[in-house]
C-alpha cells in the first residue's frame, strides 16, 4: 500500500536549512505502514532535500561550501527574461545548488518507524527563499 502526505513550509531566508525529521517520522506513524520505505521528495527546483547531522555548525559549513561552489554573481545563462513566467530568471544559484543537493531521500520503515542512523536528520534546504515550499512524504509497504 502507499500513503502520501504533503507538507507545506514557509521558508524565511534566501538560504535556509529546515529540519523536517520529525514531520517525516510523524507521517510514517500516521500511515499505518509497518514495513517498507519512505520517500521524501521536494516539489521544486531551487531547493533540495538532504540528510546530514543536525548541527548548526554542519549547516554552516554546508552553506559555505555551496556558496563557494555556486557564487551569487557569475555569468549564468539563466539570467534573462522568461516568457513563460513573465519574469526574469535570476535564481540560477538556487537551481544549481538544488541540482547538487538532490530533490529527495529514502529511508527504510521497520515496525512502523523510520530507521535512521544516529546522526541522520532530514533537511529541506532553501536556496531561493523566502517561499512557500511543498514536500511530499510517500510511505510504501505493508501494514
Amino acid at each position: 500500500m502507499m500513503k502520501l502526505e504533503t507538507f507545506s513550509y514557509l521558508t524565511k531566508k534566501v538560504n535556509e536549512y529546515i529540519m523536517i525529521t520529525s514531520d517525516v517520522d510523524d507521517a510514517v506513524a500516521r500511515s499505518g505502514i509497518k514495513k517498507g520505505l519512505v520517500a521524501v521528495i521536494v516539489a521544486h527546483t531551487t531547493c533540495g532535500i538532504t540528510v546530514n547531522e543536525g548541527l548548526p555548525c554542519v549547516e554552516k559549513d554546508l552553506a559555505a561550501l555551496f556558496e563557494r561552489l555556486v557564487p551569487l554573481e557569475d555569468d549564468y545563462a539563466h539570467a534573462h527574461f522568461l516568457p513563460s513566467y513573465g519574469a526574469t530568471g535570476n535564481n540560477s544559484q538556487g537551481h544549481l545548488k538544488s541540482a547538487l543537493t538532490g530533490n529527495h531521500c529514502l529511508f527504510p520503515v521497520v515496525d512502523g518507524k523510520v530507521v535512521r542512523g544516529g546522526a541522520q536528520d532530514i533537511y529541506l534546504v532553501e536556496y531561493d527563499g523566502p517561499q512557500r515550499r511543498k514536500v511530499f512524504v510517500e510511505v510504501l509497504g505493508d501494514e
Binding site: L10, T11, K12, K13, V14, E73, Y76, A79, H80, F81, S84, Y85, G86, A87, T88, N90, G129, P130, Q131, R132
Partner: protein
Amino acid sequence: MVIDMNVHPVCYKAIYDEDEFHRNERVFGFGLMGPQDYDEIFTEMAVGGVDKKVLHPMDLTTTEGCWVVTNEEAYKIVCDHPDRFINFASVDPHRPDAPEVLEAAFEVLNAKGLYLHPAKQRFYAYEACMESIYQICERYHKPIMFDAGLSWEPNTPTKYNHPLAIEEAIMSHPDIRMCLAHFAWPWVREMVMLMIKYPNAYTDTSVLYLDSPEESMRRLFTEDMGPLWFQRSFMHQVMFASNTPRFRSFKIRRGVEALGLPQDARDALLGGNALTFLGEDDAR
C-alpha cells in the same frame, strides 16, 4: 522607511479568485506562479527590508473588458494591513464615467494616487480625454504613476509608453508629480532629459529585463547614465520599486545596495523620494 512603489497584487491570496487569476495570467502576462498569503508576502518584505508596498490595480474596461485587480480589491488589502500597503487607483481613460470612477477611488477608497498604463489602456497621455483626469488629480493633490517603456503585458504597443508621449502632460501639469515607471527603459536618456527639465517628473528602479539584479542596476546607474548623474542631478526623483510579481523586491534591493551609493542618495532612493511623491513629506 523603504517603500516599494510598483507592485501588482495579482498573486495576493486575499483577493484570490481562481477564474480571475487564470484570466489575469493571460491578460497581465505571467505564469507558473501561485497565490501568496500575507505570511509569505511579509516574510519576503522582511528579507528585502521593505516597509511598505504601493499596490496598483488596472482598469481595462474598454480594452480587455475586465480589471486586473480592482480599486476595491487594492483597498481591501490596505484595510487588512494599513501599515504595510498603500493603494493607488486605476481608471480606464476611455470609459465614459472615468471621472466618476476616479473621484470615487479618491473619496471612498482613499487611494493615494493614480496608476495608468498608456500601452495597455491604449491612450496617449496628451489626449483630450485626459484633461479631466489630470484636473481631478490636481484637485485632490494626487500623484500619477504611468507605466512607461517596455511592458511585457500582451497587447501593449510601446508607442503609447514612450516617455516623449508623456512629456506634455508633465509639462502642462507642474503641480502633479508624475512617475514614469521602469526608468522608461529602454529610453533611459529620454527619462533623464525629462527629470532635468521637469522637477515633477519621477521614475523608479523596476528594471530587470536583462541580466542579474546587480548587473542590471550597475548598467542603469553607471553605463546607461553617467556614474554620478543620479547623485548630482536628480537624486530626489528616482524611487525604489520592483514591479512585483515580475521582479522580486529583495533582489532589486540587492542590486541597488551593490551600487554603493552615498547614504543620502541611498536613503532618498529607497524611501525618501517616495514619501515626497506621495505627498507625505511636505518639508522636502
